[in-house]
């Protein structure tokens, strides 16, 4: 079983760190992982994206032209990656800032209001964790327990007090999916 995921949005939305958290969660489940960022100048305010592959087997190419799951957080990323979702694949997009919604009928579309949710929670820093929660509801490639375990392992101990907030954001994200 191999899941090929692209996460794309603006620099600063936590796209790369969301990918990293997903990758660490896979590590907790002893899966094979690649995390390949677009590392160009686009990180500074422009679009940012990261390809995360989670697999039971050795992973070949870290660079892909089609994906099982696309998580898009702005219009440019939607325009770029909607055509690259494999037929039968999943596209999750945040409604905030999307003017032209996706139109494909051969993939599963999930519109979420993660930005709205973070406003309600009064914590816009948790945006990427809300999105990750939504993704894990649709595509449970790793368990929430593994995400929390991964966070515990990667966050310096002085930030461990943030883990409950992250868990709340994940669970809020899961509720965004009908």
């Amino acid at each position: 079983m191999t899941t090929e995921i692209i996460i794309a949005g603006f620099g600063g939305q936590g796209v790369l760190s969301m990918g990293k958290i997903l990758a660490y969660s896979g590590l907790m489940e002893d899966k094979e992982i690649t995390w390949m960022p677009a590392y160009g100048p686009e990180q500074r305010g422009g679009t940012a994206n990261v390809t995360v592959i989670i697999s039971d087997d050795k992973i070949s190419s870290p660079i892909l032209n089609s994906y099982d799951v696309a998580i898009v957080l702005n219009q440019q990323s939607l325009d770029k990656f909607e055509p690259k979702v494999k037929p039968g694949g999943i596209l999750i997009y945040d409604a905030y800032g999307i003017n032209t919604p996706p139109t494909r009928t051969d993939i599963r579309l999930h519109r979420i209001e993660a930005m709205e949710a973070t406003f309600e929670m009064g914590n816009n820093k948790a945006f990427n964790m809300v999105v990750l929660g939504a993704m894990l509801k649709v595509c449970p490639v790793v368990t929430i327990e593994s995400v929390l375990k991964g966070l515990k392992k990667t966050l310096p101990e002085r930030h461990h007090d943030l883990i409950p907030m992250n868990e709340a954001a994940l669970r809020r994200g899961m509720q965004l999916i009908d």
């Binding site: 990293k20 990758a23 660490y24 590590l27 094979e32 992982i33 690649t34 995390w35 390949m36 960022p37 590392y39 160009g40 100048p41 992973i59 070949s60 190419s61 870290p62 660079i63 892909l64 032209n65 089609s66």
Partner: protein, 363 residues
């Protein structure tokens, strides 16, 4: 500390592997996409644990000359940079090769020529494998295609460099440097003691106590003596070529076509091959691991019986020259597919190229 599994970027892996190997010193200067090597070393502060020196030099030219000096003292030393920085180091690398000293140079390539781009490239293949600096010399060139190999090749490069008293290079690219994968780090080795160093490197400049003086230099003004040094170097290169060729073969038995690719691009081609297999097309892959010495026999043997060979490189066609020479058969179609300027092909694109250039050529 025992073996442990971590999720690391290729650049971070190089730094941690060097500390674990018992490295004595790193000298470097930041440049994208390899700056995490220096950053990780500074973060780890190995001077407090193993006693390893980590120094940000004032330039790449200074860094490679610090490596030269450290190597002359028999120390386990290295530097890392990316393409424009490695160009600056070429003079020093030639001196290190001429002085017959072991050292490691890591090049995490980006697109050139000139300052170019910060995106991945393999356009320094010629520079790495055909000399780079002036004079008749070679580097042992290792091309990692995973973050695990970034770890493994640090140790391998130093083992070979000390065995043959010649500098070795890890030729990676921005994909491998920036990508995170699961890796197993080797256990921590302690740095050699001075006694161990003197025993392993009787040629090193260690302080003349009760022995004749050792001189590490690249200068010899008398031609007849310089020719002896040249001949000794060439004899070392022949030894290396005889014993150290390394490659990985994938799916080559009974293949209709052969792809030759190295580093990150070999990974992409592997996926192309898996996609092609589902479509009933059998393609083999030879991934040279040592770019110098080039695994010519393996390439020639894998090409035999196929209908054509495609090299895939993110350059304008460099390794293809070694592939042509290895196969040495004018009747065999040998084509190149590459992207330039920091662009990286995807697996479908490689299959399209194979189809266009070899299976259904337009002319």
């Amino acid at each position: 500390m025992s073996e442990e599994v971590k999720l690391l970027k290729g650049n971070e892996a190089i730094a941690l592997a060097a500390i674990r190997y018992g490295c004595d010193g790193y000298f470097g200067y930041p440049i994208t996409p390899q700056s995490e090597v220096l950053e990780t070393l500074m973060e780890q502060q190995p001077w407090d644990t193993t006693g390893m020196v980590v120094l940000q030099a004032e330039s790449e030219v200074a860094a490679i000359n610090m490596v030269y000096a450290g190597a002359a003292c028999g120390k386990v030393v290295f530097t890392s940079s990316s393409s424009p920085g490695v160009s600056l180091m070429q003079e020093g690398i030639s001196y290190i090769a001429a002085a017959e000293l072991p050292a490691l140079i890591v090049n995490v390539q980006r697109g050139g020529p000139g300052l170019g781009t910060i995106q991945p490239s393999q356009a320094d293949y010629f520079q790495a494998t055909k000399g780079g600096g002036h004079g008749d010399y070679h580097l042992i060139v290792l091309a990692p295609s995973s973050v695990q190999e970034m770890v493994d090749f640090v140790g391998l490069a130093w083992d070979l460099a000390f065995k043959y008293r010649t500098p070795a290079m890890i030729l990676a690219d921005g994909v491998i440097g920036q990508m995170m994968e699961k890796v197993t780090l080797p256990p921590q080795r302690r740095r050699r003691t001075m006694e161990e160093l003197i025993k392993q490197c009787p040629w090193a400049v260690t302080g003349k106590k009760g022995r004749d003086k050792n001189i590490c230099t690249s200068l010899e003004l008398e031609s007849d003596k310089m020719e002896i040094i040249n001949n000794r170097l060439q004899s070392t290169y022949r030894d290396i070529a005889r014993h150290e060729k390394r490659y990985e073969a994938y799916n080559v038995e009974g293949a209709d076509y052969l792809i030759v690719a190295f580093g990150s691009i070999a990974r992409i081609c592997r996926k192309s091959i898996d996609i092609a297999r589902e479509r009933g097309l059998r393609i083999g892959l030879i991934r040279p691991i040592t770019l110098w010495p080039f695994p010519s026999e393996a390439v020639a043997q894998a090409a035999r019986g196929t209908k054509g060979v495609l090299t895939v490189e993110i350059n304008a066609g460099q390794m293809i020259e070694d592939v042509r020479q290895a196969i040495n058969d004018r009747a065999m179609p040998i084509e190149h597919y590459g992207r330039l300027g920091g662009m990286v092909p995807d697996p479908e694109e490689v299959l399209d190229a194979l189809n266009r250039l070899l299976i259904n050529p337009t002319k």
